[in-house]
């Protein structure tokens, strides 16, 4: 095990990720949610998969995903969650009513 490289990867990613949008999203989603473990699981799995893909791409065995389209989809996803948080709760969302 190359501990120096391990440390380099950890420190680089940790510093660049502090206060970055995925951490802010984790703060926002978990703050509005009662299931922090579910948010942690989902966010961790997403980040691990994204960095795994980065590693695979770096090794030259895969190609870039269409970053533009993917970012637009992410923007739409965050916007939907944002609108749901901002809208008053009593008058909408009745289509999902499964109490």
């Amino acid at each position: 095990m190359d501990w120096q490289l391990l440390g380099l990867a950890f420190v680089t990613v940790f510093v660049s990720e502090l206060g970055d949008k995925s951490q802010l999203a984790a703060i926002a989603i978990s703050g509005g949610s009662k299931s922090p473990r579910a948010v942690f699981l989902g966010a961790s799995a997403a980040l691990l998969l994204a960095s795994f893909l980065g590693v695979i791409v770096g090794e030259g065995t895969a190609h870039f995903l269409p970053a533009k389209a993917v970012k637009i989809m992410a923007a739409v996803g965050f916007m939907i969650i944002s609108i749901r948080l901002l809208l008053p709760k009593s008058d909408d969302d009745s289509e999902e009513a499964t109490p």
Partner: protein, 166 residues
């Protein structure tokens, strides 16, 4: 670890019969540990179906959103999947992914890079979730929802800005 996390998040989401809940006091304890006391009481009681007619249920409890909320009838994987999809899409092509890509290409030790980067990402996520939960004990649910909504809207706008700069 993953199974334990999943297990400990189930009592409030699945509509467990009262007997099951009564037999797992430690799980309930873990759950109420990390949420607002009043809220967790309300959600636990409404899960058991005893508090709905007491008038103590807030608009938060009668709310039926599943994307960011864990409600009776909202399975926990809804929160996991919606969080997973949005954060995964947002992270593709982000600077973190590019830096792991470059390190892995330069040193040809992809698993070491992945281990280091993965540990860092889990650590920052843990910090983020912990901070969010801490904030939720300090602020009212409505204030928190508005702040979280504005924050996510800003993240969404910055993603669109990234696309326009490409």
């Amino acid at each position: 670890m993953v199974e334990r996390l999943l297990l400990s998040s189930t009592p409030s989401t699945l509509n467990l019969p009262a007997l099951d809940v009564a037999h797992t006091p430690s799980l309930l304890e873990v759950q109420s540990d990390s949420t607002v006391v009043s809220e967790s009481t309300i959600s636990t009681e409404s899960t058991l179906g005893v508090a709905d007619e007491t008038g103590a249920t807030s608009d938060r409890t009668s709310d039926t959103r599943c994307i960011t909320e864990e409600q009776p009838g909202c399975p926990p994987w809804r929160v996991v999947t919606s969080t997973f999809i949005t954060i995964f899409l947002a992270e593709i092509g982000d600077k973190t992914q590019v830096s792991t890509l470059l390190m892995s290409a330069e040193f040809h030790k992809p698993w070491t890079v992945f281990l280091g980067a993965g540990a860092a990402l889990v650590a920052t996520t843990l910090l983020g979730v912990w901070l969010g939960q801490w904030l939720s004990t300090r602020l009212s649910p409505r204030t928190l929802d508005v702040a979280a909504g504005i924050l996510l809207a800003l993240i969404s706008a910055s993603l669109i800005w990234d696309v326009l700069q490409m």
